[in-house]
């Protein structure tokens, strides 16, 4: 488990991170969500030791993080970059060797991960000749080639088409399955929502919400229901304990005062006309995000 506790970072008078604490569990994917300039990249750089911090600490499995442990991390920086003229396979092999693998093992691992990410045909091409999406895949390979057990990925999905997102998601889930702690930031909230087990939401340099995705959802859920029926549900407006949020003949979204009110509405709907669907509405990550960031 990677533990970030009380990290503070100041640039002169400006505080960019204020007492940031959260943890990234092994075997799980943790999504790191926040607006532009919220402090995601700064936090990640501090975890990697690329930036000094003004306060707080980072520990791994209960022990303070050492430089040697950091060097075994897999990191995908926000600013992408590999040597443009170097061939894809050579580049990833070189990085694997810098992480301590023998030349032959490094080359094998590089070829494996590149193939897994769908670059098997492009091994001998220079990075600069690849499309942006494929350069992105090479960048992900660079973070994964040395089998890191902690992965810090800054916006790993930006610039990827939906198919590539699926490929990368599969690889990340497989790494987490083997016991890696994975922290990734993204502004594609739908992807984060689908993929992550845990969530950290940051805004203006401080953590607004952190924890298991489902727990967060429950915490932020309201008693909101959605009804779709064939008839006119206009009677909802006169029903006690109901507040209609959105209404369009057969479609209604409403808040209920308690569970009894909900059951009452359902019974009446069935009596009035054919019900197509009646379901409680869970807040989407986007909604939770908007709510906690406000």
């Amino acid at each position: 488990m990677l533990n970030v506790s009380g990290i503070t970072k100041q640039y002169g008078e400006r505080t960019v991170l204020d007492d940031v604490s959260f943890s990234v569990a092994r075997g799980r994917l943790t999504g790191f969500v926040g607006g532009n300039g919220a402090g995601k990249t700064t936090t990640m750089r501090i975890i990697l030791g690329l930036l000094d911090r003004n306060g707080g600490s980072v520990s791994l499995d209960g022990e303070p993080l050492t430089a040697a442990q950091r060097r075994s991390f897999g990191y995908m920086p926000e600013e992408r970059g590999l040597y443009p003229k170097m061939k894809v396979l050579e580049q990833i092999t070189y990085l694997a060797r810098l992480h301590g693998f023998d030349k032959s093992v490094a080359s094998e691992k590089a070829a494996d991960i590149l193939t897994e990410l769908g670059l098997g045909e492009r091994l001998a091409d220079p990075i600069e000749s690849l499309s942006l999406g494929n350069q992105q895949r090479a960048q992900i390979a660079a973070a994964l080639v040395h089998d890191p057990d902690v992965l810090i990925l800054d916006e790993p999905f930006s610039g990827l088409d939906p198919m590539a997102v699926e490929t990368v998601v599969a690889v990340l889930q497989q790494r987490a399955g083997r016991g890696a702690a994975v922290l990734f930031s993204s502004h594609q909230l739908d992807v984060v929502e689908r993929l992550c087990d845990d969530l950290v939401i940051i805004a203006d340099g401080s953590v607004r919400a952190a924890g298991e995705r489902e727990a967060l959802r429950k915490e932020h859920s309201t008693n909101r229901y959605e009804l779709v029926s064939t008839g006119d549900a206009g009677w909802l407006r006169d029903e006690p304990g109901i507040e209609v949020i959105d209404f369009d003949t057969g479609h209604a979204v409403f808040d209920v005062a308690d569970d009894d009110a909900a059951q009452r509405v359902l019974r009446r709907s069935v009596a009035e006309s054919a019900v197509i669907s009646f379901a409680p509405q869970h807040p989407s990550l986007a909604q939770i995000f908007k709510e906690v960031v406000r």
Binding site: R45, L48, G49, L50, L51, A67, A68, R70, R71, S72, F73, Y75, P77, E79, R80, G81, L82, Y83, P84, K85, M86, Y94, L95, A96, R97, L98, H99, G100, F101, V105, A142, A143, H146, D147
Partner: protein
């Protein structure tokens, strides 16, 4: 299978290996090196060829003198009937000069030429008194000047052609942002050391190729005695070169770390360029000034140029090059430590150029 974390020397080796491989594989580098080597060989061969051909002087002389002249090297004699016939050939520009009998002249002959006195012919016919030089090595000599220029140029050119790529490759890593990934894998000092070592090896390899090209051309043109005299100074030059180049490459790396775009590199690189050029000019203007040469042979940036020259002319005591190289190595260690500091502080700074004072302050 878990990898073994690299030690700093191992990481340095890997970085150096990549630097060398990238450079050696670039077509521009291979072609420019080949052109340089071919230029050296062709140049020495051509100088030798033209040097030999122009030394023959066509001379007309009456038969009384022609027999004596024929024994002198570099003269081709045309035998004529008398002095007037010889003069006529000179006027018609069929020969360079004529040698005719003249009893009033102390040498017994007069040289007839059209516009200029033919100096080579004059020399070979003159009788010069014996000269005894008490200190033959101390005076101005063309070989001294040539050596000064040769060592000066080789050092300056190598420093520029292999030093500035160090700065460029540092900036390239900053500009392409690959630096962030590299620094999460290895320490900044290993990256710095690897770049410096890789480019020093490349520069040294090119120096060795140049020396080999010079040696081969001198052997081909039968000038082996110059070669024998050059042996020891060349070895010293190579040794000093390594120390001097390490210093310069380290400075280039540090200056490269201060900017984040190739376009800005010329701003920070200028001071290092001056440091590289100044010894070259000093050694050209002051190569016969023992005081300046003596001081220069201890200053780390200029010792690779001036110490080998002093050694060639036996002006330095046996301990002097050793002391000088120790000074160079100490300077090297200090500059590397300083550069590592600048490097670590500036590598992740993007955007505007980092000021020296900012990079150095705590």
């Amino acid at each position: 299978m878990t990898p073994q974390p690299l030690s700093t020397p191992q990481a340095t080796y890997l970085v150096a290996e990549r630097e060398v491989a990238t450079r050696v594989r670039s077509k521009a580098f291979v072609i420019s090196t080949l052109i340089l080597l071919i230029g050296i060989v062709v140049g020495i061969l051509a100088m030798n060829f033209f040097g030999e051909r122009e030394s023959t002087t066509q001379v007309a002389a009456p038969d009384t003198i022609s027999a004596q002249l024929a024994e002198i090297d570099g003269i081709e004699v045309t035998e004529v009937a008398d002095a007037d016939a010889a003069r006529e050939l000179v006027e018609n520009e069929e020969v360079d000069a004529a040698v005719v009998q003249d009893d009033e002249s102390p040498t017994g002959v007069t040289i007839v030429a059209l516009t200029d006195a033919p100096s080579e012919l004059l020399q070979s016919l003159s009788q010069a008194p014996n000269v005894e030089l008490l200190n033959p090595d101390a005076g101005w000599s063309p070989i001294r000047y040539i050596l000064a220029i040769a060592f000066g140029i080789v050092f300056m050119m190598s420093a520029m052609s292999f030093g500035s790529p160090v700065a460029t490759s540092v900036v390239e890593e900053k500009q392409t942002r690959v630096i962030e990934i590299l620094l999460t894998a290895i320490p900044a000092r290993a990256l710095l050391a690897g770049k410096v070592v890789g480019n020093t090896l490349l520069a040294l390899a090119q120096i060795i190729l140049i020396v080999a090209a010079v040696a081969v051309s001198l052997i081909l043109t039968d000038q082996t005695e110059i070669l024998a005299g050059l042996g020891t100074p060349l070895l010293w030059f190579a040794l000093f070169f390594v120390a001097g180049f390490l210093l310069i490459a380290t400075m280039f790396a540090a200056t490269g770390a201060l900017v984040s775009r190739q376009e800005d590199i010329s701003q920070t690189i200028a001071p290092v360029m001056y440091i590289v050029m100044i010894p070259y000019f000093l050694v050209i203007f002051f190569n016969d000034n023992p005081l300046v040469m003596g001081i220069m042979s201890y200053v780390p940036f200029s010792s690779p140029v001036s110490m080998p020259i002093r050694l060639f002319f036996n002006e330095a005591q046996w301990w002097e090059p050793i002391l000088s190289i120790v000074i160079s190595l100490i300077a090297c260690v200090l500059v590397i430590m300083l550069a590592a500091k600048i490097y670590e502080r500036s590598l992740l700074r993007m955007g505007a150029r980092v000021k020296w004072s900012e990079a150095l302050k705590k």
